[in-house]
């Protein structure tokens, strides 16, 4: 469905979609509290908010994934009910979720026409797809299988899938989380083309610089409420942060100087098989030093997970060696040891895994029992000692300001930030000489994130060797001392963080030659 440009302009001042007093409860939790928001044709609207502020829930209702507790939607002035994703698609709403929903063994074209009436010849569909790509500036091979695609190509397929169904409004949930800076720019160019074509684009995000870069208006959400809607050109990152968090926050990160730098960990020619293939890590060599934060950058799935797990003993190395150099002197070979054996050897290392509830914590257990984890075999006899873990749990809750109804609440009921504080608190409680953290601030609000950064800096100052696997390049550049960039499981380069630029890191992220930057 195409609309003539003059008509677009004529209706610009009338909202295309109106969200009226949308409220959504999940049990006791109020995810959205009477949110009213207008979406116009021919604009890019950012929905900005911290994790858990209800921005994705709100858009999920528009896309027919959830049904509101109260309130309703209007399209071009007429009230409508959206009970299912199909209703939403029929109304011209399309959403690209954070986790892609594609059939891996199908080609791009097959995924795009999947579920549509079969009255079109593939050649005809392919031609229509080519026209779409040309119009908006996508680069896509329609016959490439999804499992051969990079993350950004998959995202392209998702967007085209929606456009092919004639979507008038496109909702993207955290679209840049998995993209390199270059890929992000390409995506934004496409979004601007769609806007020029009179479609509405909504991007859900918590990244301020993206809001500033691409959107026309910003809707700021906090704790389920819509705080304000402002034109982008009339606001600033500081003002947006204040509305998002509810008070002024300093976004400065400190980088204390490196002191007493000693070799702690040497990884040589490490190769690891992953779930996705035989070569999750290939021939990786690097060193980590005490008193230093080594940042690790890379597109997700470039071998970060396998690197952490190989150091922690959770997955076996196919080749190469991992050697730990304790402060007290000597060296300990970690290659091929299980976590149990590493612990028994007295290696002072800690690991904050990416999957907090699935690996780092026992979700149904309370804080005390989760703090007991790893030290539960301590003490003599058959009985479990819960006294000292209880004291430690109390200390963690107090010092890291964990918000919890009590020490006996199952940790799965805690919010992401509090969960992470329990996990990090436990891991640093034994003053590890080596601390590996994988995406330690993922899903955390700004305040908790900065608390975690402070904790990492404190560990660095204490003399720990910190390996910090991150996804926000701005943070990596400010916090880390050196940045190791992984690409397709290989070392793409190690940079001094002080002089490095985001562009440099971004280029290295795709340098492996296994994938091409596209969109």
């Amino acid at each position: 469905m195409q609309t003539a440009p003059f008509f677009v302009i004529a209706i610009m001042d009338k909202p295309f979609i109106e969200l009226k007093n949308i409220t959504k409860h999940f049990g006791d939790t109020v995810a959205n509290d009477s949110v009213s928001l207008d979406i116009y044709r021919g604009e890019i609207l950012s929905v900005l908010g911290e994790n858990g502020s209800g921005k994705t829930t709100l858009m999920n209702m528009l896309a027919g994934i959830y049904y509101q507790t109260s309130g309703g939607f209007s399209f071009d002035g007429s009230p409508v009910e959206i009970r299912s994703p199909k209703d939403a698609i029929d109304l011209g709403v399309g959403m690209v979720h954070q986790h892609f929903k594609l059939v891996e063994v199908f080609t791009a074209l097959e995924n795009i026409i999947l579920g549509l009436p079969g009255d079109k010849k593939p050649a005809q569909a392919q031609e229509e797809l080519r026209v779409l790509c040309e119009k908006y500036g996508f680069h896509l091979d329609p016959n490439k299988k999804v499992y051969n695609m990079s993350v950004s190509e998959k995202q392209t397929v998702e967007i085209l899938k929606i456009l092919y169904r004639g979507a008038e409004v496109l909702i993207l949930d955290e679209p840049t989380a998995v993209l390199t800076p270059q890929e992000t720019d390409a995506l934004f160019a496409v979004l601007r083309n769609m806007k020029a074509d009179g479609r509405a684009v909504v991007i859900i995000t918590h990244k301020l610089h993206e809001v500033m870069a691409v959107s026309d208006r910003v809707a700021i959400m906090r704790r389920g409420r819509l705080i304000n809607t402002v034109p982008t050109r009339e606001t600033s990152p500081d003002e947006l942060t204040e509305m998002m968090v509810g008070r002024r926050v300093s976004l400065e990160l400190e980088r204390p100087p490196v002191e007493n730098r000693q070799l702690r960990l040497a990884v040589k020619n490490l190769s690891v098989s992953g779930i996705d293939g035989p070569n999750a890590l290939k021939n990786l060599s690097f060193e980590a030093f005490s008193g230093e934060i080594l940042g690790v950058a890379g597109i997700s799935g470039s071998g970060q997970k396998e690197l952490c797990e190989a150091i922690a003993g959770l997955c076996a190395a196919k080749d190469g060696s991992i050697v730990f150099y304790p402060q007290s002197g000597g060296e300990t070979e970690l290659t091929g040891l299980s976590p149990k054996e590493i612990r028994r050897l007295g290696v002072s290392s800690a690991f904050v895994p990416e999957d907090r509830l699935g690996v780092g914590l026992a979700p149904g257990m309370d804080i005390v029992d989760n703090v007991t984890l790893k030290r539960h075999r301590q003490g003599r006899g058959m009985l479990l000692n819960r006294t000292s873990p209880r004291a430690l749990a109390e200390k963690i809750v107090e010092e890291l300001q964990v918000v919890t109804p009590g020490l006996t609440t199952p940790v799965r009921l805690l919010s992401g930030g509090n969960l992470q504080k329990v996990l990090v608190g436990r891991e640093i409680s034994e003053n590890p000489e080596l601390l590996v953290t994988a995406y330690p601030v993922r899903g955390l609000d700004i305040n908790s994130s900065y608390q975690i950064y402070d904790l990492l800096n404190a560990q660095k100052k204490r003399g720990a060797a910190v390996i910090f696997i991150g996804e926000d390049l701005d943070v990596l550049l400010e916090l880390a001392d050196r940045i190791m960039v992984l690409s397709g499981g290989e070392l793409a380069g190690i940079l001094d963080a002080k002089g490095a630029t985001k562009n440099e890191v971004g280029l290295l992220m795709t340098a492996g030659g296994h994938r091409e930057a596209s969109v």
Binding site: D28, L314, S338, D355, V359, D369, M382, L383, L384
Partner: protein
Amino acid sequence: MTREPLVRIAKRADAAPTAAWAIRIAAIVAALLFGGLIILLLGHNPFAVYPVMFAGALGNSPAFRETVKISIPLLGAAVAIAPAFKMRFWNIGAEGQIMAGAIAASYFALYWYDKVPQPVLWLIMFLAGALAGGLWGLIPAFFRAKWGTNETLFTLMLNYVALQFELYMQNGPWKDPRGTGFPKIPMFNDAARLPKLLGVHIGWIIVLVFVAVMFIYLRYTKDGYEIAVVGESERTAQYAGISVTQVTLKSMAISGAVSGAVGFLVVSGANYTLSDQSAGGVGFTAIAVAWLSKLNPIAMVAIAFFLAILSKGSNTIQTAFEIPKSAAEVLTGIILFFMLACEFFVEYKLIFRKKSGGAAI
């Protein structure tokens, strides 16, 4: 266009315990009402049948003792299942583990009764039962730990292996020569029978000891903690330096051993012989007991006793009212079904479309 959905399911906000108990009591009332309808359809008066049913289970001391006797293996098997279920190892093989224990204990009852003093014989039978049951539980655990086989199917299949082995012994090597051709195993010598205390064989004390030990084991020991972590997440267990293989093997050995000991109690305390009915479905009913008690051994005492009341009560109404066995079992089935189903309503609620709702275009 479309209207608001007619019914939606929503998770209850952490319901107060009183509300949860109100739902459970409502479920039992609903079950009795529904069961009453069935009794009416069968041509009987529910107000006559229900009292007889409960009197038949609790009304006098012989009936009460019989009910306790029914609950002993049920409680024992539920306790046995607890450590396995706690680590999310779906052991539905208690039936076979009981049978394995019963067969092993019976060997010593049949052939050693005159070789050793009575207390020693009891001890040997107990240990033989526990060992055989433990081994029977270890087999699926070993294959799961080593090759990731499906424990549900594996434990289920081993039930039939144990049962068929018993039938072989019954029809062959252990067949009673005085059975006039009828394939049965001889009654045990008095030496191999368990004594009674307060009118019921001392198995009830042994099972209560199991309850206490299992409660402490699961809640206060290092092993119990490891079992719980493995149940929560195997990846977390590995990460924390817990050997999932060792925990799996150890817990299933314990689970099977308790079941095997229950098998000894059944043959030596209740039946004084071994038959293909020795386990009699107890291993399966115990799953319901374990589940309804949320794997808490103390709660299992009450639940197992309640199910024993239903079982004994349904026996009574069969004879008193000539209600067919199958119909009486339907009645107990309904009550169980309501009890299990109400756990869904403890966690979720249904939201119906409001009369005015659903603005249509």
